[in-house]
């Protein structure tokens, strides 16, 4: 390692980077310290570490049962959407990447183009659609919408990953006696774990944090998601910032834990060594 000389340019770069990291980390810092303060302490001590270190906010979050209910709803909604998306997207991507059929490229480009449509323009048509289907105010309805919104990117990502798997590996499996579906399940999917982990993380984050559709389509109190609930939290406990922060921290931690577990799969190189070095 050679040490960089501290020229004014390098110095400036570091200052800018440090400033950016701090401003990104500050909300988290604020969330953590505030959640351990009492409501009273927060009044006079906004930005310093808590003196009392109280868990009161946390017990308040969990009391009443609503938070747990919302948490469960979010879990259910997120994971069922993500699983359905993974199932449909892997079948579709397999077809796009490996099978031959008419107008394949046109269809794929069309699906990819759907990524740019902002969900907000679809709210009214979707609302009418769900009303007609009798799915308004149901988990099913929202899962269908989430799946629809997540599919284009998921298909796009998996298709490009599946295409990168050497054809000869798939041909070898075919000669070994694999059926089309066995090739998908025993060769392509195991080789695409990094792609699936990436995709799952991206999709979970999106679904977990999604607010607009959940607000509009899940108005029944018992169906609220964590995000919707926390927004309500804020207005109901308007003056109790520590409780809101505790709720937010739990929400954030959930996806953070998932991300950290998934991260080791981000390391690529699963296919390295299968074909010529």
């Amino acid at each position: 390692m050679t040490r960089n000389k501290l020229t004014p340019g390098v110095f400036l770069k570091h200052v800018v980077l440090m400033f950016m990291s701090l401003s990104a980390l500050f909300p988290i810092y604020f969330m953590v310290i505030t959640s351990f303060k009492t409501k009273e302490e927060y009044v006079y001590n906004k930005f310093n570490l808590p003196h009392s270190f109280s868990f009161e906010s946390y017990s308040q979050v969990f009391s009443g049962g609503n938070f747990i209910k919302w948490f469960a709803n979010s879990m259910l909604l997120t994971f069922s959407s993500v699983i359905v998306v993974a199932a449909i997207a892997s079948l579709a991507a397999y077809a796009f990447a490996r099978l031959r059929f008419r107008n394949k490229d046109i269809l794929l480009n069309f699906i990819i183009a759907l990524m740019v449509v902002p969900p907000v323009v679809m709210v009214i048509p979707l609302f009418n659609f769900l009303v007609d289907m009798g799915l308004i105010n149901t988990m099913y309805g929202v899962v269908i919408i989430y799946v629809g919104l997540l599919l284009p990117f998921s298909i796009f990502l998996l298709t490009s990953f599946f295409k990168s798997i050497p054809t000869s590996i798939i041909e070898a499996a075919y000669l070994d006696g694999c059926s089309t579906l066995q090739i998908l399940f025993r060769i392509i999917i195991p080789l695409s774990m990094p792609a699936f982990v990436t995709l799952t993380i991206v999709n979970v984050l999106w679904a977990w944090n999604e607010l607009m559709i959940a607000v509009i389509f899940l108005q029944d109190d018992s169906l609220k998601t964590l995000m919707v609930g926390l927004t309500a939290f804020q207005s109901r406990y308007n003056l109790n910032i520590p409780v809101t922060m505790a709720g937010l921290l739990i929400t954030t931690m959930t996806v953070l834990v998932l991300y950290i577990f998934g991260q080791r799969y981000f390391i690529k190189g699963m296919t390295a060594g299968s074909v010529k070095g």
Binding site: P166, I169, D176, V275
Partner: protein, 366 residues
């Protein structure tokens, strides 16, 4: 064990005809090498036998069945790919077991077979390794192992050695020959390397632009190429070619190359008589052009003056690259032969070893 027959096999990709009416009979236990320049349709032909490509027309017979509509797994074949195509997420054992498991073979039998094959190929210590933890040569062995563990009647190999370095390639070449001697299955082996073809094949098929040029044993292909393409493709360094006019004088036949004339061998007169006063192409292999005192005595009347351009000392022999008139000549001379570049030296052609090709059709008269 099985023989393989290709009957009027044609393959089009879109509008382009890649394989043009191939007819081929491969005997049981034969080591057949399919050789030809890049893009001539060797892989395509092999892949049709494997069942990875459909035929546009014609039929392929393995054993005594037409296999056009038979699934690859039921054809009794196995294939070794150029890039090995090992399953990256499985260790060596699982790679070899995969096909057998799919065929629902009992575990004990799978285990027995894999251990035997691993023993044969010297890869027993590698069974628990993943492909990425293997060297190129080891991967190659595993790829061969995965193919032969299925005990195929016909083993298909598409340039299996081309990703190895030169030394390893020579070593694997002899190992594959030994393996074939032991297993005695039919092998169809694709390569664009004529040395591999010469050393490994019991018979060689030379292909060009989707058409079979010649099918014969290595020595026969070398000694009696049927056309200019085969003559030039097989043999290294390649055959020398000289344009000549056939001239009859005094009951003898001479080949006139412009600035020098060469006497045709007497036993070829009858074949050449039909071509008197016509242009032909003469071919002569580098080892049949000689230099030095002894050569002057033996082949004195087929002397050509040539300018030395490059001298390659290979240790066991010397390659001389010469220019005679407008022709480039390569001469394979004995070790110890001395020649200086830019020097003009006499070379002597062993006229009993020449080949003559018709100019228009490029087919061999002899």
């Amino acid at each position: 064990m099985a023989r393989v027959v290709l009957r009027n096999v044609v393959k089009n990709f879109g509008d382009v005809r890649i394989v043009k009416n191939v007819n081929l009979e491969i005997e049981d236990k034969e080591f057949l090498v399919l050789v030809g320049p890049s893009g001539c349709g060797k892989s395509t032909t092999l892949r049709m036998v494997a069942g990875l490509e459909d035929l546009t027309s014609g039929e392929i017979i393995i054993g005594d069945r037409i296999v056009n509509d038979v699934h690859p797994k039921d054809r009794g074949i196995a294939m070794v790919f150029q890039n090995y195509a090992l399953y990256p997420h499985m260790d060596v054992y699982e790679n070899m077991a995969f096909g057998l498991k799919l065929a629902k073979m009992p575990k004990a039998e799978i285990d027995k077979r894999i251990n035997e094959v691993a023993e044969t190929l010297g890869i027993t210590e590698l069974l628990k390794r993943k492909p990425k933890e293997l060297s190129g040569g080891q991967r190659q062995r595993v790829a061969v192992g995965r193919a032969i563990v299925r005990e195929p009647d016909v083993l298909l190999m598409d340039e299996p050695l081309s990703n190895l370095d030169a030394k390893l390639r020579v070593q694997m070449r002899t190992e594959l020959i030994k393996l074939h001697n032991r297993l005695k299955n039919t092998i169809i082996y694709v390569t664009h390397d004529q040395t591999e073809a010469m050393t490994m094949g019991t018979r060689i098929v030379v292909m060009k632009d989707g058409v079979i040029q010649q099918v014969a044993a290595p020595q026969e292909i070398y000694d009696k190429p049927v056309n200019v393409f085969v003559a030039g493709f097989i043999g290294s360094p390649t055959m020398n070619f000289i344009n000549c006019r056939v001239i009859s004088d005094d009951g003898k036949i001479t080949l006139d190359a412009g600035s020098f004339r060469l006497p045709a061998p007497a036993e070829r007169f009858t074949l050449l008589e039909k071509h008197i006063n016509k242009e032909v192409l003469m071919g002569i292999r580098p080892e049949n052009i000689h230099v030095g005192e002894n050569a002057a005595q033996t082949y004195g009347d087929s002397r050509v003056e040539a300018l030395v351009e490059v001298v390659e000392q290979l240790g066991s022999e010397v390659l001389l690259y010469l220019k005679a008139d407008r022709y480039s000549l390569t001469v394979r001379a004995q070790a110890g032969t001395r020649a200086a570049t830019e020097e003009s030296i006499p070379v002597f052609i062993n006229m009993n070893k020449i080949h003559i090709f018709e100019t228009e059709t490029e087919t061999a008269l002899f």
